[in-house]
Symmetry: C2
Subunit: 419 residues, 2 copies
């Protein structure tokens, strides 16, 4: 047993070992299965249904490059300089107009720019959670959120979903049970639209009741809405925040409908939280990137992004339809919720089939297709009879071929199962 | 007294108050005096000697905009897409060549890209520090580092400097005393070159002995070197990390010698730390910005950045010389260490003068000049007889006039003092 106080990083063998000094939170940081998979999934012979990358191939980069050229020539010194911790004011104004499309009234003052929505998640968890606190989260859940929550040594308590989203009666029971255990519930984390990975959308008529329930129990809601503009039919769903400004913090992102390469997202929150978020930005980033912020601002200003958005919706709808069509044809006994938008389809193996999606992955990759095993989206080992299939990046043809490879490999590996 | 477990965010008046749920660490996050100052300092009639913004005015943005146009046209889909958590490999290769200029052998594998050096500081503190741990830090110290350390509820213990940097005998005594108090020392934080705010450079012949001392006591060193390439005479100083690869983590940044607007820095560390830093990047950012990384890569590749660097050095030297000349003329009884590079001069008020630089700031701003009071660079209220004067951003003429305004205001406010 080494006494760190006396010996510092010098271990029991008398050697300096830098890992001796890690903080306790490092124990709860671990590599996600999903990330480890990406190296494999990126091999050219593999059709990847694993990633969550938006499809950018058809963007008119010739036109965009000219916008960039003008921007740098005219505003270079501002683009390349430090900005303010809250983020560029003009971009914050523009963001209020984007969320207005979803019926959310917001001001630039309430808005803080983040280095992607991920940094928003990190900042909110940093501001609210001590080790041992509880976050209520939809199960299955976004793997990147689980990673953040773990890194703050938070206990994630699962909230059950049906095909219309969070089941309110079960949520209430979970709140009561969790408090009975003496735990502090810091917030409910929800992705209400086209949730990652389940593809589920919270029914419109459940939204106000969900907010009322949280209000009754004095629980803050963290609403994460990266996909909201990407419904297949153009429908826009009301935000939770619009129902309750004091108690809902809203996370948004440019990553899914413009481009993730800039790492720009935003948080809309009550003033007392906004003030702390600005301090958090100063501490983590000094300030968001001016180069990224002003480029997005120029794109939105000089480019017909709403028409581009319609093209994205159409493209993702076509891809999703192809995926569904091929699944219905080749894997008719596998169930799924039909997504209304977003990037993902959550495929359930036939009941009692004994398929373990984590074990099967190797055979799938062997057959030239990759997906994410369902276990990655649970903190408790559940999800082995699910696969997350993404239809955002591959072409319609690749999707058809990918699902075909997947079906063939399943049938070959589990000849006794009726898929 | 409200029972959070029972009532959540509902306060003693029965109202929902989101601030009820803040984590304990929020108590230690506070707005820095410096940031609050920037709003004032940015008024056009004020000559600001307060900020740490590099001077970018003379960059040939016409030429750069053409590089950008080509980059976006040819590599748009890669620029705009997600990257990998460790950061773009080609840029990491390039970084190894940059640090090689300072004699540091590094590999791309050891290197992790961060969202500015600030995020590197945050990540290292996150990985190593539990609440109550000690960080040894040069006093005065970079205000952005103090902010990060506070946000992790760390105790900062000051290490004394003379004009040649850390005083080794005093450091050793501090280590012994701190451990005698039962505290865990997690690392020594040092900015060895042209330190912010003191302008002090660690003497070359103290570098190896400093490393040996830390090695002896089993203490990791966090070496932060944003200004290393910006010596006035082009001299490059040996890094601490080159003396001790197992025990020194190196932070670098493009912010000072290319541009801060991209928020791109780097960390070079032992493998066991690198692995955790990649997880930390996934958790905080998903990945660094491809758009920013590839733009910097293109700038370094297609632009004569070394000649530009010489121009920066000359420019900063001229500005610093003007500052010194005007101080020597108008404030001959104020002391300072003559900087060998970097951005800052640390001005000491005459001994026993009773000048409180925090109180005096209002009068200075009234007279049309801003600086940062020395108290911002200490965690314990020290520093009131110092001012940090930055010579990086204003022109030579503005510096002359700014110091003149400062001198006049000092003499007017404290007529009894011989400055």
């Amino acid at each position: 047993m080494v006494d760190f106080n006396r010996n510092g990083y010098i271990n029991s063998k008398g050697d300096f070992d830098i890992a001796e000094g890690f903080a306790r939170r490092v124990d709860s940081m671990r590599a996600s299965e999903i990330r480890a998979l990406f190296a494999v999934a990126n091999r050219p012979e593999i059709i990847s249904l694993a990633g969550g990358m938006p499809y950018l191939g058809k963007l008119p980069f010739d036109e965009i490059s000219k916008i960039m050229e003008t921007l740098v020539r005219e505003h270079g010194p501002k683009l390349w300089q430090y900005g303010v911790a809250q983020g560029d004011e003009e971009l914050r104004e523009t963001i209020t107009k984007i969320v207005e499309l979803e019926g959310l009234d917001a001001t630039a003052q309430e808005t803080v720019i983040t280095a992607g929505s991920q940094q928003g998640l990190d900042s909110i968890t940093r501001l609210f959670c001590d080790a041992g606190d509880v976050i209520l989260a939809e199960a299955p859940n976004y793997v990147g959120a689980l990673g953040v929550f773990r890194s703050y040594q938070v206990e994630v308590v699962n909230v059950e979903l049906d095909e219309e989203g969070i089941i309110l009666a079960k949520l209430e029971k979970t709140i009561i049970n969790t408090r009975a255990r003496g735990k502090r519930i810091k917030f409910l984390y929800s992705v209400p639209n086209f949730q990652n990975p389940s593809g589920i959308t919270l029914a419109v008529d459940r939204r106000k009741p969900l907010v009322e329930l949280c209000k009754k129990y004095g629980i803050m809601i963290l609403e994460d809405n990266p996909y909201g503009l990407l419904s297949f039919d153009g429908q826009l769903y009301p935000t939770l925040r619009q129902h309750w400004k004091e108690g809902v913090i809203y996370l948004g992102s440019f990553s899914k409908f413009i481009a993730p390469g800039f790492r720009i997202g935003w948080i809309i929150s009550p003033d007392s939280v906004r003030d702390k978020l600005v301090l958090s930005n100063e501490s983590v980033l000094l300030c968001p990137s001016n180069a990224s912020s002003l480029t997005i601002e120029a794109y939105l200003k000089h480019f017909d992004w709403k028409t581009q958005l319609s093209a994205y919706r159409e493209g993702y709808k076509d891809r999703c339809n192809q995926m569904i069509e091929t699944i219905d044809e080749l894997l008719p006994n596998c169930k799924y919720n039909k997504p209304k938008g977003g990037f993902f389809l959550w495929l359930e193996m036939p009941e009692g089939s004994g398929v373990n999606s984590k074990d099967f992955l190797e055979a799938a990759v062997e057959a030239g297709v990759a997906y994410v095993p369902g276990t990655g989206f649970y903190d408790n080992g559940d999800g082995e009879n699910f696969m997350r299939l993404s239809f955002c990046y591959p072409s319609v043809e690749e999707i058809e071929q990918g699902i075909t490879r997947l079906a063939n490999a399943l049938k070959k590996t589990y000849p006794e199962v009726k898929f």
